[in-house]
Amino acid sequence: MGTKLRKIKFVLLNKQRSFFYRRFLRKRIKNLIKKIPSTYQRLNDDNYLKECRYFLEKYFPGYKNTNWHYFYSTLNGIKDPRYIPEEIYFGYLDPLLNNYDYYLSYMDKFSFDLLIDNEYIPKTVMRITNNRFYDGTFSFMNFETAMNYLGNYKTELVIKPAINSGSGKNITIDEAKNIVKLLREKQKYKSGSFVVQEAIRQHPLLAKFHPRSVNSLRIMTANLGEKTVVLSSYINFGRDNQRIDNGAAGGITCGIDKIGALRKYAIDIAMNKYDKHPNSNLKFEGFKVPYFEKAVDFCIQQHKRFIRLTFISWDIAIGENDEPIFIEMNFRRQAIYGHQRLNGSLFGDYTDAVFQKYFYEKTKEPIYY
């Protein structure tokens, strides 16, 4: 009976998900198009839209909406029929190729130490579950010794929830003293699970743009069966002395091309264009991300450990010692919007390979947990 119920859950949730995305993302794109600032030149090319329709018809018969294509090519000026609409990505590709049941075990920051090479993770100082304290080597501490241990730290510390810290939610970066104060006083740390890490010290070249926040790379990799490739990548910059660089938290994002050079313009959440950082006035064009190749190699190597997942988005910082530092990985509802509006089509030359894998996996029966 258990497996039958799970089957029902699987089918029902899949139906609900595709229905939800079809209906509500269609509204979202309409709103987004309305919000495009008037500085952009509107696209007016019927031949291009015809090509787009032909592309969609080829892989998703019946889907004719070209709004996403219109939106992306207006923003970045790249006319490519191979853009992937979000309805299709979130409704069909993502749930099938990335098993969502793995979400909790892979996204749990407690298990990062087991899954990723330890030298690339910022040092874990403390793990907290339900008011029980375990230090970096997993040995137990009672409340007072844990507070003393934390209080002796001279570097800055980060405290974040072990799961669900998306778009900088509930993340605090501060000196050790103040973190101890938080843990003593705030009620929300008395239950639930949290990780305390040493704050990242980033590469001086990246820090120049906005020193208060860790300016992190977002690299998306895909496992296409035979090989693992990098699809697209961009960089987040913080803004106005904020500690968090996330686009949703007010940061600006700039695309990175294949060799690691920044593109001409960066974009913020309201789609305003910047050719230099608004606070430090540094130009984006011509800047090369230091040790970008190392970061890309790291992502591809680590993706090999997760053969079950097809798409992974990696949050990587470049450290002071020129090595990539792993912050987080995302594989459920990863934002493809950010990639396509900056770099053009997400899959690009790998479009055929991705869809080949999709149609292959579609014939198999999934595992019901």
Partner: protein, 377 residues
């Protein structure tokens, strides 16, 4: 009003509670059936002991700690089989519905109990040598590199060793496990089922002669159960599983014979099978259980303790550990969910022992936050 986000959230919590309820009711339904069957089987072997005073104490213990639960059949079974008169025995129903469901966050266990990802969690020298991983009909090497099908099959043919192929998830009870020479396996892999699910192909572990003498065709493993008690990891109970009648699997459900291990690594005086028959010698090899010992048991238990530390989400873990011919512990699998406990209690007495009151306290502390913070959808 039902809006888009609202609907999603409602569906999430609806399924969350539905599955919780379904798990609980299914567990109690299944286990109640099982205890009735078990008691019938036991009555064929020994006399079921009835002691009014003892039953009274047990009822009081259960009623006060577990929401008025009053089934004493499990205690009856354990008392009459193990001759230990203790109220600390935990009924299976209570263990699954109260302890495991709440203290082990099972939603975190999916990947971790997947055999394909074991090499990321443990050191390679502690695992059996992986030959290939087979995911949806695609071959991957032990280093996770993609291999073409024909090349992989040729490699498998040339290997010419005894190998084992098992499903990467849900291989409980020895389901779909095949042990054979790798040459014969090449034709087997053409079958339809091997093109759909995911499997792992490993070399068959050459076990320690002291364990092999009980039953040579199966890999005889130790089942060790560990628990996290705030500051330390403790070993609750352990038993040895041996195969029977030339079977390739040592599992109790597959007819194997189980024998308790004490804390020094020595075996108990008798073994039992799934029909609760007692054996003082192994029926095939005629070797006495009493006095025999598991080689390097200390190292094996230390391995479990060291590794349990890393898994903060699980309070109870059951480990399957084999001992290889050099005496090193080899990790076969671990079970963070639906781990059987009745064999432990029959062979070694009360499972939680001195920690009973601690775990009851933990249960009452945490019983209200059952659902994970973000239920998977």
């Amino acid at each position: 009003m039902i809006t888009s986000k609202n609907l999603n959230k409602r569906l999430k919590s609806f399924f969350g509670y539905l599955f919780l309820y379904q798990r609980k009711t299914l567990n109690s339904y299944r286990l109640r059936k099982r205890i009735k069957k078990s008691l019938k089987l036991v009555s064929k072997q020994t006399v079921i002991k009835n002691d009014g005073e003892y039953h009274k104490q047990v009822r009081q213990f259960l009623k006060s700690n577990f929401h008025g639960y009053r089934q004493i059949e499990w205690h009856q079974l354990y008392y009459s089989l193990s001759n230990i008169k203790s109220i600390d025995f935990i009924p299976d129903e209570i263990f699954f519905n109260c302890f495991e469901l709440i203290l082990n966050k099972r939603d975190f266990a999916y990947v971790l109990s997947d055999k394909i990802s074991y090499d990321t969690l443990f050191h390679k020298k502690d695992l059996p040598e992986t030959v290939f991983k087979l995911i949806n009909g695609r071959f991957y090497s032990s280093e996770n590199y993609f291999l073409e099908r024909e090349k992989a099959l040729i490699e498998l043919y040339n290997l010419n060793k005894k190998v084992i192929i098992k499903p990467s998830v849900n291989s409980g009870g020895g389901r779909n496990i095949v042990v054979d020479n790798s040459r014969n396996l090449c034709s087997l892999l053409k079958r339809k089922e091997y093109l759909i699910d995911s499997y792992i192909i490993q070399e068959f572990v050459q076990q320690h002669p002291l364990l092999e003498r009980f039953h040579a065709t199966s890999l005889n493993t130790c089942r060790i159960m560990t628990a996290k008690v705030d500051e330390e990891i403790v070993i609750l109970s352990a038993f040895l599983r041996t195969g029977r009648d030339n079977s390739i699997i040592d599992n109790g459900q597959a007819g194997g014979i189980l024998c308790g291990i004490n804390s020094n690594g020595f075996l108990g005086s008798y073994g039992i099978n799934n029909k609760f028959e007692k054996f003082y010698t192994h029926p095939n090899s005629k070797i006495k259980f009493a006095g025999a010992h598991v080689p390097n048991y200390n190292q094996a238990s230390q391995f479990c303790i060291e590794n349990h530390k890393k898994f903060l989400r699980f309070t109870f873990i059951s480990w399957d550990i084999a001992i290889d011919y050099k005496g090193n512990p080899i990790f076969i699998e671990f079970n963070p969910r639906s781990q059987g406990i009745h064999n432990h209690q029959i062979l070694n007495g009360p499972l939680l022992g001195e920690y009973t009151s601690y775990f009851i306290k933990r249960y009452h502390e945490e019983k209200n936050n059952v659902l994970p913070p973000d239920f998977v959808i």
